[in-house]
């Protein structure tokens, strides 16, 4: 366990903790609102932003943030008009953003760390990354806390929320923007391809164990913590890529959760 003394590993643990809390909290809403595909789409859209940012010399994280938020807002607007469903809208905007990314990369004269972008590497988180991660996560958690009640009601009963005076259109935009912010938060840790799993697996694990919302929310955060921190430790112990280890830990938890949930219902 001597690796625990290394600063890079301590930063990785801190980053993992932050990402787990924020992804676990948002995963609760992703599963409630069935936004798994939207989360995946928004994370893929970040690829276009990173590539464009690299082309113009801007910070890749900023590019990812702008692209993810733009696709989230475009999705909310298009689906809010009633012409498209959220999954259709995000499907269209995501492939457009990715195509823009591919075109941008073809003009780049330097190499882009595509593997790192796709799969992330939590062990390379530097102090600046950690600061940005903490700031973005704090913003997501503060917004979640401020709007938790209307967001929860709009997530479980949109018609009832509208009748009760909740601005459901604003809640739809808010959850998608939070999703975009969280995708950017998770990019460094698990990369574009796997960040959507961090938004789905914790909530799915908790949902299989309980349907009461306080337990569901806390269970989602707990599952994310086990998934990220457990996966991180496993990746070092087994010398395998951290992003994949985190996702495989989450997948294992998911199946354990399903079996435990069934056993509990039968008891």
């Amino acid at each position: 366990m001597e690796f625990l003394a290394f600063p890079f590993f301590q930063r990785a643990l801190a980053a993992g903790f932050i990402v787990a809390v924020v992804c676990g909290a948002l995963s609760f809403f992703v599963v409630l609102r069935r936004l798994a595909f939207v989360g995946s789409g928004v994370s893929h859209a970040a690829f276009g932003g990173v590539a464009l940012a690299s082309l113009v010399g801007a910070p890749p994280g900023l590019g990812a943030l702008v692209a993810a938020v733009a696709v989230a807002l475009a999705t909310a607007t298009a689906s809010g008009e009633g012409d498209l469903t959220e999954d259709t809208a995000v499907g269209v905007f995501t492939v457009a953003a990715m195509a823009v990314g591919v075109v941008a990369i073809s003009f780049l004269e330097t190499n882009v760390d595509l593997f790192g972008l796709m799969f992330g590497n939590i062990l390379t988180v530097d102090p600046k990354d950690l600061l940005a991660l903490g700031g973005a996560s704090l913003l997501v958690l503060v917004l979640l806390a401020l709007y938790f009640r209307p967001l929860l009601l709009a997530s479980i009963d949109e018609d009832g929320a509208f009748a009760a005076g909740v601005n459901v259109a604003r809640m739809r935009v808010l959850v998608l923007v939070l999703l975009a912010l969280t995708v950017v938060v998770g990019l460094k840790v698990v990369g574009i391809l796997l960040v959507s799993a961090l938004l789905v697996l914790p909530g799915a694990v908790a949902r299989s164990l309980t349907s009461r919302w306080p337990g569901f929310l806390l269970g989602s955060i707990g599952a994310a913590l086990v998934m990220v921190l457990g996966g991180l430790l496993l990746s070092v112990a087994l010398d395998v890529p951290s992003g994949a280890a985190i996702i495989l830990t989450g997948t294992t938890l998911f199946f354990v959760g399903i079996v435990a949930g069934r056993l509990r219902r039968q008891a």
Binding site: G160, A164, V166, S211
Partner: protein
């Protein structure tokens, strides 16, 4: 605040369905005093739900005006309409629309919780509302473990817990057998008598309609007759 609780004048709502234009409600004028128990009667497609949605600020008319307590709400923006729904109106939907993962008490408390009231107050008032609809002792039960009548009573408790000026109910008895439907109407009667709550609900069941003192009949989107205790309302 002055004037009748509800004053609707010339409300018209027409929906576009492809090339076709479907009349939801045409030129509907209606006044409702505080403390009334009234029913919108008519067959399916007569415009009952459309009119309830307009009066409940869930939809906007294409023309006509609407005032609540003398305040013109026709031109209010979405935020203003949302505030009025939250503070002055309660809703009971045809299919009760309770949240299956929440207990009866939590379902009722949602209406208060959303206003930011403290948890303890939400709990106390929700229990009192459940007691007033005859569901004491069932606070912890989930909707799927309740009968249709009990679920609809929870929906009524949720609608009245915020002490709204007006409760609107869209075909609340439609999914109930006749005996349970009659008991739900008894409950409306009792809440109307004991708490002075104003109820406006829709029904296509003549046995229910005949028991209500104020009857507004709709045909093809128009108000065909409006009677209070058998006499026409001007």
């Amino acid at each position: 605040m002055s004037g009748p609780l509800v004053a609707a004048s010339g409300l018209t709502r027409i929906y576009a369905s492809g090339e076709e234009r479907v009349v939801g409600v045409r030129d509907a004028s209606l006044t409702l005093e505080a403390g009334e128990l009234a029913v919108l009667a008519g067959p399916s497609g007569s415009g009952k739900t459309t009119l309830l949605n307009l009066l409940g600020l869930l939809d906007r008319p294409d023309s006509g005006t609407l005032a609540l307590h003398g305040e013109d709400v026709s031109s209010l923006d979405d935020r203003g309409r949302a505030r009025l729904r939250r503070e002055k109106l309660g809703f009971v939907f045809q299919s009760h629309q309770l949240v299956p993962v929440l207990s009866a008490e939590e379902n009722v408390a949602l209406a208060l919780w959303i206003r930011g009231l403290p948890d303890a107050e939400c709990r106390t008032r929700s229990r009192a509302a459940l007691a007033s609809v005859g569901l004491s002792g069932l606070e912890a039960r989930r909707p799927d473990a309740m009968s249709g009548g009990q679920r609809q009573r929870v929906a009524v408790a949720r609608a009245i817990v915020g002490e709204p000026a007006l409760v609107l109910a869209d075909e609340p008895t439609a999914s109930l057998d006749s005996e349970t439907a009659a008991r739900l109407l008894d409950l409306f009667d009792a809440l109307h008598a004991s708490k002075g709550i104003t109820f406006l609900f829709s029904s296509h069941d003549p046995r229910i309609v005949e028991r209500v003192p104020r009857r507004v009949r709709l045909v093809d989107g128009r108000i065909a007759s409006d009677e209070r205790n058998g006499r026409g309302v001007k």
